[in-house]
Symmetry: C3
Subunit: 473 residues, 3 copies
């Protein structure tokens, strides 16, 4: 077994030497462009504290990353053994960081051919200088090597932020968040541009776990007592203004479906009252979310915040995992999704409004060519976000290009965002996207579908310009 870890300079590029050469040329043109990170889940705390440390290699890589531990869990490794806290039996959670790392390394072969492996190998190689493949035998020496680096000042998050050449990084924050961390970052005089994103799921989805508490929080932070529907709307508007003042350019919304519909104010008020009394039907919840998505679009027309819609996940599919470990533990499974009918009310009302920008994300790739590209290729307001979650991968990107671009054109897409909570994976994720773009464009050049000049212009847009404009940065 070869033990050396290498990164092929032409990785992600397909076989024909001529095509590889063109892809390499295109990639070289843009590889030093700054990273635009307009959507993600990095904890702002990481950048608020100038001395923040990532902890041990296991703390950094494994414990918080559901992409990684779900795969090991699927093969019979317990989450406890990976350091994920079982809230009912916390004492069963492995605390020895080296032992967690060893378990991970023992099973690292499971990731062969997956994007996790691609990202992780690149992080190990480029950020931490690792030159051996991670496996049972090399586990502890690689652990030492990473641990040593993490102790050094160049591995503080702000230093890495600069090294990664990030131009702007957006976090995702509850609508009720007071953005203390963002305030601290701004007050610190540090020049990194970290902006919040307004995510109101916890207050507009009436079945959100702590909805009632969130409403109290909303009243408190907005200074508007959200005791009736009108006040609730006012409080949301107030929070949007606050987020915008703190630098936000976008909102983000998660929903099971993209169903949109307008309620009249009386209906909306009645449902809101029932929600406050804890007396809701599932139909109430569904209709209210559909209505509030319309309201969010209306507000976006007014304040100019770009609206992101991430739909189609059946969250917490595995009750056992949810009961013991909580949300975001790799047990969210995609659902069939329908956009053409569901989005029609919203698009009829706001889709022709030049002030409105709606960025769509899906976990159902069958909608790429059938629904999303035709919608984006017609409505001025609609643009398509990059492949999301399970599809943020070499093949997932290739399918996205294949299915979307002929109908929508690249200019109705929103470039890349890494959508990650793993700060150190950001450069690798952007690099995979940029390489996948270069590979796709090179394929078109070789097929005589675009010339090199056009491919180069498209490459710059895909790597940098589209995201910046789509998010109004």
């Amino acid at each position: 077994m070869a033990k050396e870890l290498t990164l092929a300079p032409d990785r992600c590029f397909e076989g024909d030497p001529k095509r590889k050469e063109i892809a390499t040329y295109l990639h070289t043109q843009i590889r030093n462009l700054p990273l635009i990170c307009p959507h993600g889940h990095v904890d702002p705390r990481v950048l608020a504290d100038p001395d923040y440390s990532f902890g041990t290699p296991s703390d950094l890589f494994i414990v918080p990353d559901h992409y990684l531990f779900r795969m090991l869990y699927s093969q019979g490794v317990s989450l406890e053994a990976l350091g994920v806290k079982n809230r009912n039996q916390p004492e069963q959670t492995e605390r020895n960081s080296r032992r967690i790392w060893q378990t991970f390394a023992d099973n690292y072969y499971l990731f062969r051919g997956t994007p996790s492996r691609l990202w992780l190998d690149q992080e190990l190689y480029e950020i931490f200088g690792v030159r051996k493949k991670l496996n049972s035998l090399t586990a502890q020496s690689i652990y030492d090597q990473i641990a040593e680096k993490l102790a050094a000042p160049q591995f503080r998050p702000r230093a890495l932020f600069d090294q990664f050449n990030i131009e702007v990084l957006a976090t995702t924050d509850a609508a009720t968040d007071t953005l203390e961390q963002h305030r601290a970052i701004q007050a610190s005089g540090w020049r990194g541009r970290i902006i919040p994103t307004f995510r109101p799921d916890g207050i507009i989805n009436l079945d959100a776990p702590d909805w009632r508490a969130n409403i109290d929080k909303l009243s408190e932070v907005s200074g508007i007592e959200a005791s009736n529907y009108n006040a609730f709307i006012s409080a949301i508007e107030q929070r949007r203004t606050f987020f915008q003042q703190m630098g936000a350019t976008a909102t983000d919304h998660a929903a099971r479906t993209p169903y949109t519909a307008t309620l009249d104010t009386i209906d909306a008020s009645l449902i809101y009252q029932r929600a406050l009394k804890g007396d809701l039907s599932p139909a109430d919840t569904e209709r209210f979310t559909a209505h509030m998505l319309m309201e969010m679009a209306r507000m976006s027309c007014d304040d100019g915040l770009v609206m992101q819609l991430h739909v189609g996940s059946s969250r917490n599919h595995n009750d056992v995992i949810f009961d013991h470990f909580g949300a975001d533990k790799g047990a969210d499974i995609p659902l069939q999704t329908e956009f053409t009918r569901n989005l029609r009310p919203m698009l009829n009302k706001f889709g022709n409004d030049r002030r409105f920008a709606l960025l769509l994300f899906t976990l159902d790739e069958t909608t790429y060519g059938r629904e999303l590209a035709p919608l984006a290729g017609h409505y001025p307001a609609v643009k398509l976000g990059p492949p999301w979650w399970f599809f943020d991968s070499v093949n997932g990107m290739a399918r996205f290009f294949d299915l979307v671009m002929e109908t929508a054109g690249i200019y109705n897409t929103a470039g890349f965002n890494d959508d990650t909570r793993a700060f150190c994976s950001i450069p690798a994720r952007h690099d995979v996207w940029r390489r996948a773009c270069a590979n796709w464009l090179a394929g078109m050049v070789v097929k005589g579908l675009v010339d090199v000049d056009d491919a180069e212009a498209m490459m710059i847009e895909l790597a940098y310009g589209l995201a910046k404009r789509a998010y109004r940065l």
Copy 2:
């Protein structure tokens, strides 16, 4: 920026030199075969008048082509600026053809990587002799060049028809059409074969915009007063016979879904009576269409007209656009489609009948491998039309070959049709299909899945034979 417009001789062919060489060989074998155009939307008026002129370059290329103006609209260009008539405010419509052309050229970069660009560049290059890339700077000189050509006698449609080497061209005509233009063509002594296609949507879909007026028209042109269901059926049969006498070999049907079901005559009569009185439920409409598709299949068994079924478009998705500009303005969005259950009644009744030929078209590519190929690979009556509308593209064709051919074989497909109203785009569209076929076949040769002899035989069928036989031409 390179300013020269070039057409790579090996365009659409993929990278490996050996594969490209085989593709080039296959393409060369068939490139001079005549074009079979068995389904499209060219206005027969264009060919009825021997002196017909296409007007200005903008009249020819932009104003009538919803593929083009929907893309510019999606990026914020108004339809009025592109010369599309706003029926509520006609005075806002740009009438200066040069200004329209300039706007189009300014935004031509939006089409990078799209089939529209591929077709248009080929038309500009091969038909109009353009050698510069269209952009803001070259717009007016290219306008001049096209305008000059259009004034010449070689650019009359009939001359182009011959130059394009079209063997037969089918138009699509309302069931109530008297086919005056076709009569004029036939009477003129010109030898071009232009045939009508019988499209009864306006009379069998009870919710068609002018249904009542269409029924009056039907009574008038057929000489059969369609005041009851039986007379309605007789009138349709009369029209089919007339179309067939005028050269038609096929019918064409658009429906939101492929739902088929037989009503008994009493039910059908009652619904028809309610329709005449304007007293319909949506369920009536749906059931009647399902029933009439069965009737159309029955008539096809009797008269031998090939039945085309185009399903799955949500027409006029954008109310604003429909209200101001009408239908076919780029605002039709595909829907999920189901064939296995929906077509079962029709196929059980007529699918084993050797007299019946049913050609299926879809906007939902997920049905290619799952439903359509298995149906075509079993029922004698069923054949699959080529990739349609959004999928009439290099990648769309590649996916069609990939998903359909292993199960259906090429002999259960219907070759190519261009489905276009843009007369000058016909050669480019057929050429893209032929190149995509050559590329696909070359890929199989390189993979050792077919030998060159078989590939050559398949190439001829795909380019010419399949369409001719499927449409009984």
Copy 3:
């Protein structure tokens, strides 16, 4: 026309010489590994009788193979002409084996580019030494050649079993089968490992054609009078034990949908009683199957039999064919399928149980990336079977790798099974899989996504290890 039949040594491998070289290397590494055949439909009679003869070339190749005759039927050849027995008019069935073969050869061109052609050419070439392409002219001489071989002792099934290097072959057997043939094989002293698979569709699907008779049979063979629900469950458990004693390691279940739900015992008992009285509603049937799938999962936890679930076929779509020729005549058409919601009850109850193994098969490829890979990449119990039926093909496999592996990883898949009743096609089918794997892995090596060492380890798993472990062999 070239008349020679050749098999390219690098068939199924894609074009770039470097990629082909790597694929060839990987294929060479594993080409002599034994075949694991854990799921199929070979009649055990074939191997129970040491002197079993396959009959004529038409008996062997054509009459029993619905992949072949459905294609000819779709092009207007009657099933009778291919020797398929019309049970209403048996006298119309062609009995002349040479004439059947000639008809087949005359139409063999229809299979160009299909997996049937790939398998058959390889069988003809490698097993029967044919060196000419099958067509109208060569039909009879090839018939002679095959017939001569079939008469020789080396062409007895047991001799071929050894020559094919099959390590284990599982048949599929009704739950009520007494496994006489398996007993005979075991008693014969022959060392070939032939094991049964427990398939209870005929007793758990209450609308199965001979359900009542099957229950009587169940009572008889189990010695437990299945006159009530509890006894029915006990009888099933008894049969599972018997199958396991006879070597079975797996069960197999066919269902239209993967809907699972638990009934309480009273409901289950009442439905069972209604079924015995022939007084069922469709809802009863659906709920009972959903419940029995849960019961089967429970039993699998207890006895360790691997549970296979094949879903999504609309059986006997064509009534005419069913009435005249019966089931399995090429008229089964896939349906849209939904796993995320449907399997949730079963996976919540048993999906975390390490004793449980659930292998999923689909005819709806849209579920590969959206539902199946995420489920397999999370639940310890779930693994994915290889591409099934219409998708057991070069392109079908490529799509499977593309859509599944990045999310599930190869280790959550179950390797290959041939699922065939055509014994002589087994080596060709496994070879296509192995080549498709080698081609896929070589593509990843060329793209720098895995190194050659990892690719080699993955190749061995895909060709041999995964199937063996997934089926607990």
